[in-house]
């Protein structure tokens, strides 16, 4: 390997964030608990700096560094930039929630930044090795964050489940990777694709490996039938952590699926397409139908995540550039929408009380008309009601699916979305037409209010003008 400065230039976002995250970790250990707000400010500043660095060094073509371990292409740049925005929202929402629980410790910010680093490494991975390490970095941070409230039994239980199932999924993924390595003798995605193109690769070993890789992927995405951890973790974790788990990692998981399936195994498309169709249909069915029976809103949103993962998979199934662009658009939009939902949930919670059950939302309109409107926009976007952005995300995915003549799949997806619309509308009905059970005014700091309003308005703003984000997504696959 020869070392030159272009490598540092390409990996500048990761290096910057690694340094800044370590700096935040160090800074926090010198602060008194009353000065915790400085950690928060430093975290947001770090995100701003790394955003600017990524933007300044953005690339127009795909470039490799570190002997084929690292790839920088327009897709990775767009995904990273959107991750920074998403994480900024997470931190703003989480601050109040943590303070209210009396567990505002600096580790939350440091672990959040390192989780972001893991996601960036996953997005920019060009070989199975760096992809797996990025995944573990992310997962380790998330395990610790789920157990962040040490005195909560449900948090510890959720962390334990997450850890055991996550380790199992990593094991399956590694086993699949070893099979792929055994068949091709390569770990780099480009090299694997090349070997497969040339033929002379044992097809049976390859498909055996592919099955395990897809299983690991489905586990991480939370697709049915590998979804058992999702509801428990969403419910057990503190809402601030749920907001983190439910948003940004979905974008990273999308990138992971793209790297493995499209970059490394494009010649096995027929095989993985079939597996993904099974996963997608099951996810749509189970996610939407089981969500109806939930009374805990975090659990309900977990099942709704599962159904949205089904939609992201639909975009990948199409197997065309239009399909990938629509899946990417969907992943980004969903992450932002979910964040708004969890953010508002934290906003409604108050001292010693977590808004967790559906009836906690009753009469939200009387208590705060503006934030009830925001919640309605978020829920409409999840259900896919025009003119919110969720409608266009669903439309783009369905369009891509119909273009490859999978009409039955599109019809199935629409039917299950209509079923799913029921439980979103039920929440809206509760907010607007039911009597409030408590009339305490809602409290939050100015930055949280601002972020919530911005997030809610983004739903309708992007919905009226979806073309800007959509064309960005399309351009990276052109």
């Amino acid at each position: 390997m020869s070392f030159d400065h272009t490598m540092l230039y390409l990996t500048a976002p990761e290096i910057t964030l690694a340094l800044l995250a370590s700096a935040v970790l160090l800074l926090d250990s010198f602060l008194k608990p009353s000065q915790r707000v400085l950690t928060y400010i430093a975290t947001l500043l770090s995100l701003l700096i790394v955003f600017m660095v990524t933007f300044a060094t953005h690339v127009d073509s795909s470039l490799m560094a570190f002997d084929g371990q690292y790839i920088r292409d327009p897709m990775s740049d767009v995904l990273k930039l959107s991750l920074f925005v998403l994480m900024a929202f997470v931190f703003v929402y989480a601050k109040d929630d943590l303070r209210r629980r009396g567990s505002e410790r600096g580790e939350f910010y440091a672990l959040g930044l390192f989780a972001l680093l893991g996601m960036m490494i996953m997005i920019s991975a060009a070989s199975f090795l760096s992809l797996y390490l990025g995944l573990e970095l992310l997962a380790l941070c998330l395990y610790a964050l789920v157990a962040f409230q040490r005195n909560s039994a449900s948090g510890s239980e959720a962390a334990m489940k997450y850890f055991v199932l996550g380790a199992l999924a990593s094991g399956l993924l590694l086993y699949g990777i070893s099979m792929v390595y055994g068949a091709t003798g390569q770990l780099g995605f480009a090299a694997i694709a090349e070997r497969l193109q040339q033929g002379q690769v044992d097809a049976v070993v390859m498909s055996f490996g592919l099955v395990f890789v897809v299983l690991g992927l489905a586990f991480k995405l939370g697709a049915v039938p590998f979804h058992m951890w999702v509801p428990d973790v969403y419910q057990g974790a503190p809402t601030s952590v749920t907001a983190l788990i439910g948003s940004a990692p979905k974008v990273a998981a999308f990138a992971m699926a793209m790297r493995i399936l499209v970059d490394a195994l494009p010649s096995m498309q027929e095989q993985w397409q079939l597996m993904l169709i099974i996963l997608a249909v099951l996810s749509l069915a189970v996610g939407n139908i089981v969500a109806i029976a939930q009374t805990n809103i975090k659990r309900m949103l977990a099942y709704s995540t599962i159904s949205h993962v089904g939609f992201i998979l639909l975009g990948l199934i199409a197997g065309t550039t239009v399909g990938y662009a629509s899946a990417m658009f969907y992943a980004l939009v969903y992450a932002l929408t979910a964040l708004g939902g969890f953010g508002l949930l934290m906003f409604i919670s108050r001292q010693g009380f977590d808004a967790e059950n559906l009836h906690d939302l009753k009469g939200l309109n009387e208590r705060s008309p503006w934030y009830a409107l925001m919640m309605m926009l978020v829920l409409f976007s999840m259900a896919g009601v025009p003119p919110t952005v969720g409608f266009f995300a669903k439309l783009a995915v369905l369009d891509a699916i119909i273009r490859v003549d999978l009409l039955w799949l599109a019809i199935t997806a629409v039917i299950f979305s209509v079923i799913g619309a029921f439980y979103y509308l039920r929440v809206i009905k509760m907010m607007y037409f039911d009597k409030a059970e408590c009339s305490e005014p809602l409290q939050a700091s100015t930055d949280t209010r601002f972020a919530l309003s911005l997030n809610g308005l983004a739903m309708i703003g992007l919905g009226i003008m979806p073309s800007a984000l959509m064309s960005v997504c399309a351009s990276v696959f052109a």
């Binding site: 580790e107 672990l111 090795l129 573990e136």
Partner: protein, 189 residues
């Protein structure tokens, strides 16, 4: 030997015994690696896993009073489905990962190296050049492991007595010794 030891690990009733069988499993694995001429990895496996990790493991097992009977309560109930999945997996594995696919005619045996060939040096060369990026990510993973472990277990309890070293160092003679001038007592003979 390896398969026998691994089976014993999961079937022994006594956790200490299964931990010891796990040690045997690691030994067998390292022997296989030695046969593959991966001396450095084999030695590391013995040193790190057998020497350090398993000893800690044994300590933990002996300190915790593990209720084995309670853990086995669900065993029989889940046995049929578990067995079914396991058998299906094993059959598939044997069909795929067999000598007809990974035999010596498909995958060449490793080249025999000269006596002065250093496995460690080769590994180091690769690790710090080609695999530098993953190597550094691994460093961050370890950092996170430390942060996570500390943040999950460190509790500052009130009322726990502990030493304040800097206070102990800064202590002056006057804080500890008090000179009292007293009248000499009369001897009563």
């Amino acid at each position: 030997m390896l398969l026998f030891a691994a089976t014993m690990v999961v079937t022994r009733r006594n956790p200490v015994q299964s931990a010891l069988f796990l040690v045997l499993t690691f030994f067998c694995t390292s022997a296989i690696w030695l046969l593959l001429e991966a001396e450095f990895l084999a030695i590391t496996l013995v040193l790190v896993y057998v020497g350090a990790v398993m000893v800690l493991f044994l300590f933990v097992i002996m300190m915790l009073d593990v209720d084995v009977a309670a853990m086995r309560a669900g065993f029989v109930r889940y046995l049929p489905i578990g067995l079914l999945v396991a058998i299906a997996m094993v059959v598939q594995l044997v069909m795929v990962v067999g000598p007809q696919r990974f035999g010596l005619d498909k995958v060449a045996a490793p080249i025999r190296h000269a006596a002065d060939y250093s496995n460690t040096e080769e590994l180091g060369q690769l690790l710090y050049t080609v695999y530098m990026y993953p190597f550094e990510i691994a460093a961050f993973i370890l950092l996170i492991a430390i942060v996570a472990a500390i943040s999950l277990t460190l509790r500052r309890r009130k009322g726990v007595r502990h030493q304040d070293i800097s206070k102990q160092v800064r202590v002056k003679r006057d804080d500890r010794v008090r000179l009292v001038s007293m009248q000499a007592e009369e001897r009563d003979d």
